[in-house]
């Protein structure tokens, strides 16, 4: 199953990902959660409790299951306005 993963702002820096906003397509086993996706991508880096997660642009928690083609995004607390 292919999942599109994006990191924004300081999360992108944490990942050492300089490929701009669009990040990787990762191959995962058929049953995976958001936490599994993080663990696959982060190579041991800890995810702070305040990191926010969205699947297909809706906020979710780490236990949310992902499916083929989903877009998973990790980002720090928002600071707009």
């Amino acid at each position: 199953m292919s999942i599109h993963v994006k990191f924004f702002a300081s999360m992108r820096d944490l990942m050492g990902d300089d490929r701009d906003i669009d990040a990787a397509v990762v191959e995962q086993q058929e049953i995976s959660t958001v936490d599994d996706i993080w663990n696959y991508c982060a190579e041991g880096k800890k995810r702070s409790d305040n990191v926010l997660v969205a699947v297909n642009m809706d906020y979710v928690d780490g236990q949310t299951l992902v499916k083929e083609g989903d877009e998973v995004a990790f980002f720090p607390p928002v600071t707009g306005g």
């Binding site: 924004f8 906003i21 926010l52 928002v78 600071t79 707009g80």
Partner: protein, 147 residues
């Protein structure tokens, strides 16, 4: 209802004037307009800030702002609403955000304008990276408690 993510500088008063002029079919229906404009400061957490970069999540940011305005429209009987937010490189004194709402009475206008702003500040996916005078840059980790 209109949501704009703008990568170029905007004049909020002109945008507001143009938007309201295009609402002439609503003349006579609204009795209150509440407006909030957020502007970039040249200081944060005790440091001088010379420049800032605003990042967003294309697609999710627009959708989230639309949802905030739709929710406020139902809750406060908004007749019209407008949100404009800058992204990209900005300088002190540049406008960052404009929120405007039109309602029949002032209570709904004040409350809806505030609620949209507070939701935007706490949930809409934008991130600021500020350039400290002297060279260093840093991500803003959290918004200043401003209310």
């Amino acid at each position: 209802m209109k949501i704009v993510i703008d990568s170029t500088s905007f004049d909020p008063w002109r945008v507001l004037d143009d938007y309201q002029k295009n609402m002439s079919d609503l003349d006579g229906q609204y009795g209150a307009t509440a407006v909030f404009i957020g502007t970039m400061r040249d200081f944060n957490e005790g440091d001088d800030v010379s420049e800032m970069f605003l990042e967003h999540y294309p697609g999710m940011t627009e959708r989230h702002l639309e949802n905030i305005c739709l929710q406020a429209t139902g809750e406060y009987q908004l007749i019209e609403s407008l949100v404009v937010h800058r992204v990209g490189a900005i300088k002190p004194n540049d406008p960052i955000v404009l929120v405007a709402v039109w309602t029949a009475h002032r209570k709904q206008a004040f409350e809806a304008c505030r609620e949209i702003m507070e939701d935007l500040k706490s949930k809409a996916p934008f991130w600021k990276k500020e350039q400290i005078a002297g060279g260093e840059d840093r991500w803003v980790e959290k918004n200043t408690k401003g209310y």
